[in-house]
């Protein structure tokens, strides 16, 4: 009996020792983020690289132990650009205990705005619609709003136009995303921006824009500001090339100079429009791999590390996804550095304090990310790019639009 008792004691001790050795010395915490976006369906051409940008940066954070033993878990779900599915995904993520949420489309961001506020969850969408920030405390835009981008383009036109008052048309997407900036540009004109908005064209699914282009020319329009996605812009500028009405130089008299905001440009536009994209002026707050620098080097390294193809690696939407993940991780890092507990509330406070000396430079934007309780648009700075010999090249220095609120 005694022998048996001693044997049992030895077995128990062995189990305890094994368990102690097997357990990690310090089990890190897992911070939960989540992303719901259109990986399939409408706008998935942007959503797909965006999701890879988020995924790769989070993997990088965990692989390189940027947060020490702590890790970030960021499930990514496809919502097919449908608000109903986004809402379902969001509810699921909430039940999993997320501390910060990454959303995507303008429609779903506007539809879920109240939920974000009620749940008090900081949210970073891929939509830069200024309306997202109206009556909302918890939405943080990564970069300047579409309105700010369009006003930036308008200011660039006014500054570089030779002759009288520039005659401008806006070519917009028939949705909140496209229409949002129109009123803000009109307000900028009322506030003293010296240009005339001759016409606002809401495009449909037209395969030919000859009539539109001829009408604009008959009204002496010289500049077109596009606020839509790449494919309608590609159709427009290809038709302009076919008709021989594309300006060879910026503001060439009797011809049209095309400009566009964030989602109109990028390498996808060059792929779609080919040589017609030459001389297209585009603005965004992101750096591009065609203008190498430390930020783009890091982006290309990340894409290579996780075996992404060339197209994804050079996509500005990949940069976009990376950048929002960087902002989220930076907020977590700062909360940890201050010895705080990573919660929705602490992340919200940290994001609101991301300004002045505490602003954040992720490296892949043309200016710092700054938030405050009254300003939830991240990077205020814009860079103008134009297509030169098949690639987007920077034109001038980064700037902050003066007429943007």
């Amino acid at each position: 009996m005694k022998k048996r008792h001693a044997f049992m004691m030895q077995v128990v001790l062995a189990v305890i020792v094994c368990a102690a050795l097997a357990a990690p010395s310090h089990a890190g915490q897992v911070y939960k983020l989540a992303l719901s976006l259109a990986i399939t369906g409408p706008t998935s051409d942007a959503g797909n690289p965006y999701s890879k940008g988020v995924e790769d940066y989070i993997r990088y954070v965990n692989d390189t132990k940027l947060l020490g033993d702590d890790t970030v878990d960021c499930p990514i779900r496809d919502d097919q650009y449908q608000t109903d599915i986004t809402k379902r995904n969001f509810e699921d993520f909430l039940s999993e205990g997320i501390v910060l949420y990454l959303n995507y489309s303008t429609g779903s961001t506007l539809a879920l705005k109240r939920d974000f506020d009620e749940e008090k969850i900081p949210t970073i969408p891929a939509s830069f619609h200024a309306g997202n920030l109206v009556d909302s405390k918890y939405i943080f835009l990564p970069i300047a709003t579409y309105s700010s981008q369009c006003i930036g383009l308008a200011e660039y036109i006014v500054a570089n136009h030779k002759g009288g008052t520039p005659q401008v048309a806006m070519f917009i997407h028939p949705s909140a995303f496209g229409r949002g900036p129109v009123e803000d540009v009109q307000n900028a004109v009322k506030s003293g921006l010296k240009m005339d908005i001759v016409e606002v064209v809401e495009h449909g699914k037209d395969l030919d824009n000859t009539a539109t282009l001829q009408r604009l020319l008959s009204k002496n329009v010289q500049y077109v500001i596009c606020q839509t996605v790449q494919s309608p812009v590609a159709t427009l500028i290809k038709d302009a090339q076919r008709l021989g009405v594309t300006a060879k130089t910026f503001g060439e008299a009797g011809k049209l100079t095309f400009t566009g905001a964030h989602y109109t440009g990028g390498n996808d536009l060059i792929d779609l429009a080919g040589s017609a994209a030459e001389g297209f002026f585009w603005t965004t707050s992101y750096t591009l791999t065609s203008e190498p620098g430390p930020g783009t080097d890091f982006q290309l390294m990340l894409a290579k590390k996780y075996s992404r193809d060339e197209k994804t690696a050079n996509s500005h939407n990949y940069t976009n996804g990376m950048m929002v993940a960087q902002v989220a991780v930076e907020a977590i890092r700062r909360v940890k550095a201050e010895g705080g507990k990573v919660t929705r509330e602490s992340l919200y406070k940290t994001l609101n304090a991301m300004n002045g000396a505490n602003s954040y430079s992720p490296g892949n934007t043309v200016g710092p990310v700054t938030y405050s309780p009254t300003d939830h648009a991240g990077v205020d700075t814009l860079q103008i790019y134009s297509v030169q010999s098949g690639v987007f090249k920077a034109v001038g220095k980064p700037f902050i639009p003066k007429f943007a609120k």
Partner: protein, 364 residues
């Protein structure tokens, strides 16, 4: 009539009235009562996450809409490809009220049952109006007429500032006897509301089908000239079939707007209309139970495909593209398979099961 009112096997009706009873035996009535009780009690016993509660609410709303679609397409034989637009009419009736008088106005938040009825009524008016071409058109031509209503609806919502140009119009939180329904109780509260409406509408349609008005729907579907010769009014029947469908759709739309706390055009597009039609076909056109089976089957299938894609993501590097292929593939495949092999839908399986249980242990 069988002497045993609990376990009657076979049809022993001696009067037409007996044949038209809703419940043939006491056992039928008991099973139905227990089933309804279970539907009401289970959420109190078993806690479900908001995600799945939202899915359930969605299925129930689709049931309300499909009861209407089944009336017009299944029972009256009038193809409607614009059903999502009728649902949208209901949602936007509520949304326009919210936009005009404020989304937290007492009418929106406290008098929500009235708003549901009002939305249904507006849906019925639109339904009757769109049903007018049914007096002259049939089959494919009528389908195109309803399709055009869908297109006009989408265009109107997308372009008129009154409808916020398709952007979501917010709806305030509603109040119940215990005060404002909080975010935590939101989905459960609407589960009970929608479930009650589904039961009431189900019973209403069951009763309608026992009446001369219900029978005239079927008669017009089978042969409208013969129905006319029998003294029915095919024109009026067709218009009121559309009006009734519009009413159910309108209520479904208002429920959708309340559940999602807003109305946006994305939920009422042509693809939604096709989805509704698929639900009606898979459930079983021309059957009341089909209106319940169809939405449940299609919505659950959607969810399972999503889960499958997510699970496969662990093994397949190109998982994202799998999602692109799987969703439409399964949706299309299910409809084709049902049309080929079970055109009477899941309702027929239900009928076979019931018949088997009723006759058991005998084969016939």
């Amino acid at each position: 009539m069988s002497a045993n009112r609990w376990l009657a096997t076979g049809n022993f009706f001696s009067t037409y009235r007996e044949e038209q009873r809703i419940f043939f035996t006491h056992l039928d009535r008991l099973v139905f009562a227990v089933f309804i009780a279970v539907l009401f009690i289970w959420p109190l016993v078993y806690e479900v996450s908001n995600k799945y509660m939202l899915v359930l609410d969605n299925i129930l709303i689709a049931m309300v809409a499909i009861i209407g679609l089944n009336l017009v397409t299944g029972f009256a034989g009038l193809i409607s490809i614009g059903h999502a637009a009728f649902v949208g009419v209901g949602a936007y009736t509520l949304a326009v009220f919210a936009r005009t008088i404020g989304d937290s106005h007492v009418l929106i938040t406290h008098a929500w049952p009235l708003m549901l009825v009002l939305s249904g009524a507006v849906g019925a008016v639109f339904g009757a109006f769109v049903g007018l071409p049914a007096l002259r058109l049939k089959h494919l031509y009528l389908a195109i007429a309803t399709l055009s209503f869908q297109m006009i609806f989408q265009w109107t919502i997308n372009f008129l500032p009154l409808f916020n140009q398709g952007q979501t119009i917010p709806i305030g939180r509603v109040y119940w006897l215990t005060g404002m329904v909080s975010r935590g109780d939101h989905y459960l509260f609407w589960y009970y509301v929608i479930l009650t409406i589904v039961i009431l509408f189900g019973l209403a349609v069951r009763n309608l089908l026992r009446s001369r008005y219900g029978r005239s729907l079927v008669a017009v579907r089978d042969n409208d000239r013969a129905a006319d010769a029998m003294g029915m009014n095919p024109g009026l029947t067709k218009v009121y079939a559309f009006a009734l469908a519009g009413f159910f759709a309108g209520v479904a739309g208002a429920l959708h707007a309340y559940l999602y706390r807003g109305a946006g055009i994305e939920s009422f597009t042509l693809s939604q209309s096709i989805s509704y039609l698929a639900m009606a076909i898979v459930g079983g056109l021309g059957t009341l139970t089909g209106s319940f089976w169809g939405p449940a089957a299609i919505r659950i299938l959607d969810l399972q495909v999503e889960n499958l894609v997510e699970w496969s993501a662990q093994f397949l590097p190109a998982n994202m593209n799998l999602a692109t292929a799987l969703k439409p593939l399964t949706f299309g495949l299910v409809i084709v398979l049902f049309l080929m092999f079970e055109p009477r839908g899941i309702a027929n399986w239900w009928r076979i099961c019931r018949s088997y249980v009723k006759l058991w242990p005998f084969r016939y």
